[in-house]
């Protein structure tokens, strides 16, 4: 993913767009604090995690871990 960013931003500029005004969403982000912080530091606007198609007993613990990751990324 990260290796693609310079090329993407160059293409946006060549198309007459300000690359800073083309927000990038990472879809399918791994549940990994270092990776998520690196995305933040690279100017990624949003990360989206893919959840399993499962009932709450399986999904809520995943969300609780992400909630901690969100707090750690903000600070």
């Amino acid at each position: 993913m990260t290796e693609f960013l310079p090329q993407f931003r160059q293409m946006a500029a060549e198309a007459g767009r300000d690359p800073a005004k083309v927000p990038i969403t990472i879809f399918g982000s791994p549940e990994n604090r270092d990776r998520v912080k690196r995305y933040r530091d690279q100017g990624i606007a949003r990360v989206v995690t893919m959840l399993p198609s499962a009932p709450d007993a399986e999904v809520l613990p995943i969300l609780d871990r992400w909630a901690a990751l969100i707090r750690q990324t903000e600070h």
């Binding site: 879809f27 399918g28 989206v48 399993p52």
Partner: protein
């Protein structure tokens, strides 16, 4: 940086209203719903990561309905298609769906779009696979006319909208954010993204959208 979560909503998954509330309570910014109208049994296109296509691809519910349920159960959570296969949908009907969900959610809709990867699924809808990205660009241009003008019309090579009137217009002005899906590490996606609003890239190529 914002955080979102995506789920293929099915009749055996968490319901969208419940998931929406759980996400909002935990500091997430958005919920994302993918779509596949159907999976043809011919299966001409293998999944990007190889192997079998997951059961959820066959079972996934309509994103506009599930996202409406999520929006009605929450106050600030944004609701997003991730992605809407616009090239498999009628342009005028889709423009009205987007404007309507943006109105009923008080401007919380994010329009994630994609050109699809599953060739026989795309072709079931009468769309020519080879020119689907040209069609997608024209559809978004036509929808933007519909969303922003009292008497819009659009004359493209593939998409044509006669001069007409339709409301509602979206709550967000001039339109909800349009976020273009792109496989990572390909220049193709970047070309799409430079034409519209934002870009969505897959971190994991084994999750075909």
């Amino acid at each position: 940086m914002d955080f979102g979560a995506a789920m293929f909503f099915t009749d055996y998954s968490m319901k969208p209203a419940e998931l929406g509330q759980a996400l909002e309570a935990r500091g997430f910014e958005s919920v994302w719903a993918p779509e596949h109208s159907h999976i043809p049994s011919s299966r001409l296109t293998p999944p990007a990561g190889g192997g079998q296509l997951g059961k959820q691809y066959y079972d996934v519910m309509d994103p506009f309905v599930t996202l409406t349920a999520a929006a009605m159960a929450t106050k600030t959570l944004k609701v997003a298609t991730g992605v809407c296969l616009v090239i498999q949908r009628d342009t005028i009907q889709t423009a009205k769906l987007v404007a309507t969900i943006d109105q009923v959610s008080d401007g919380r809709f994010l329009f994630g779009i994609g050109g699809g990867w599953n060739q026989d699924e795309v072709e079931s809808h009468g769309t020519i696979f080879k020119t689907r990205f040209k069609k997608m660009r024209e559809q978004i241009e036509a929808m933007t006319e519909i969303w922003t003008k009292a008497e819009p019309e659009y004359d493209g090579e593939i998409v044509n909208v006669p001069k007409m009137r339709t409301w509602p217009k979206p709550a967000q002005k001039p339109r909800p954010p349009v976020i273009v899906g792109a496989p990572s590490r390909t220049a193709h996606g970047a070309r799409c993204a430079t034409a519209t609003g934002g870009c969505q890239m897959r971190a994991d190529r084994h999750i075909p959208m």
